[in-house]
C-alpha cells in the first residue's frame, strides 16, 4: 500500500486540546498492534474522512479515532497501549507516597 494522503500527528494537537489539557506532540505512544513506540506527532492522520484517524507509521494500525458531532465527541484509543506524558513534579500530579 502506498499513500501520501495523510497529515502528521501534530495536527491532532488542537483537536485533542479540546478534550485534554495535554500537548499531544510531546507525548509518546505505543502501538497496540505492532508495539512500535514513538512520538504521537509521528502518527499518520487521515482527515478526509467522517472523523480523524491516526495510524501507526510502522504498521498502519489504527491508534486514535476521533469523531466530532455538533454536541458530542468520541475518542477511541484502544489501538494505543499507552500514552507517555512528560509530567515534571513541579507541575501536575504528585507521585503517590
Amino acid at each position: 500500500m502506498t499513500d501520501m494522503s495523510y497529515l502528521d500527528g501534530n495536527m491532532l494537537d488542537g483537536p485533542l486540546r479540546e478534550l485534554f489539557a495535554v500537548d499531544l506532540s510531546s507525548t509518546t505512544g505505543r502501538c497496540d498492534n505492532c508495539g512500535t513506540t514513538g512520538p504521537m506527532a509521528g502518527l499518520h492522520v487521515y482527515s478526509h474522512a467522517p472523523g480523524l484517524i491516526g495510524r501507526c507509521p510502522a504498521c498502519t494500525g489504527v491508534m486514535v479515532r476521533l469523531v466530532r458531532a455538533p454536541e458530542r465527541a468520541w475518542l477511541d484509543l484502544r489501538g494505543t497501549t499507552y500514552l507517555q506524558v512528560p509530567m515534571p513534579l513541579d507541575r501536575g500530579l504528585a507521585l503517590p507516597r
Binding site: G51, L52, T60, V67, R68, R72
Partner: protein, 199 residues
C-alpha cells in the same frame, strides 16, 4: 482549529427537494478515506460470503464478471454532507450473490481489503437495493473510490458502501463496524438524518 466537524460546517440546510435534510449538492466526487488505499490485483481479488455457520461462498474476479450484471443509476449521500446525484455504476446485485445461501442471519458485516468494516441489516442488502460494483461512469472503478470493487448501498449514508470490499459475514447478532464503533449511527438513513448514535 476545532476537531473535525462534518456536522458543524455551517452549511445552509438543503432546500432541494431531491436532497436529504442537511445535505448539499456537489458535482465532483470527493475522496474520503480512513487509511492507505489498498491496491488489490485482480488475479488475487475475491469476494467471500461467510454465513453464520462459518460456511464460505467465494467468487474470483472472473466469476464475478460472469454473473448477471446490473447498471444502477443512483444518488449518493455522504455523512459529511455532500450528495452527488445520478451516478452510474455496473456490478452484481447482492440478490444474485445471496441466491442459494441458506441463512437465518439478520445482519451482515461487510469487510474490506485494508481492514475497514461496516454493518447492515441483511434485508437492506436484498430487494435490488445493494450491489458489488466494479465500474463507475463507464470505466473501471478507480482505487481511490474503492476499486477494484466496492459495496454500493445508496439508500444509506455512503460509509455503508464499503470501498475495497472483500466480503460479507452474515451474523445472527448485529456487530457494529469501523465508524459505528466510533459514534456513527448503526443504520444511517440519510432521509431520517441518522448521522450519529442516538439520532
Amino acid at each position: 482549529m476545532g476537531i473535525v466537524s462534518p456536522g458543524f460546517q455551517g452549511r445552509p440546510r438543503s432546500s432541494a427537494p431531491d436532497l436529504p435534510p442537511g445535505q448539499y449538492l456537489t458535482e465532483d466526487f470527493p475522496v474520503l478515506s480512513a487509511g492507505p488505499t489498498p491496491r488489490v490485483p485482480l488475479d488475487t481479488w475475491e469476494f467471500v460470503l461467510t454465513d453464520e455457520t462459518g460456511a464460505e461462498y467465494r467468487w474470483s474476479w472472473d466469476e464475478l464478471m460472469g454473473l448477471p450484471q446490473d447498471t444502477p443509476t443512483v444518488d449518493l449521500h455522504c455523512v459529511t454532507r455532500w450528495s452527488k446525484l445520478g451516478t452510474t455504476w455496473q456490478g452484481v446485485s447482492l440478490d444474485t450473490l445471496l441466491d442459494g445461501v441458506d441463512t437465518g442471519a439478520r445482519y451482515a458485516l461487510a469487510h474490506s481489503y485494508g481492514g475497514y468494516t461496516t454493518n447492515l441489516p441483511l434485508d437492506d442488502l436484498r430487494g435490488g437495493r445493494a450491489w458489488v460494483v466494479h465500474t463507475y461512469d463507464g470505466g473501471p472503478l478507480p482505487a481511490e473510490h474503492g476499486g477494484p470493487a466496492r459495496l454500493l448501498v445508496p439508500h444509506l449514508y455512503l460509509w455503508k458502501s464499503a470501498k475495497w470490499v472483500h466480503g460479507l459475514r452474515l451474523l445472527v447478532d448485529d456487530r457494529p463496524g469501523f465508524w459505528e464503533t466510533a459514534g456513527y449511527h448503526d443504520y444511517g438513513d440519510p432521509w431520517r438524518e441518522q448521522r450519529y448514535q442516538g439520532d
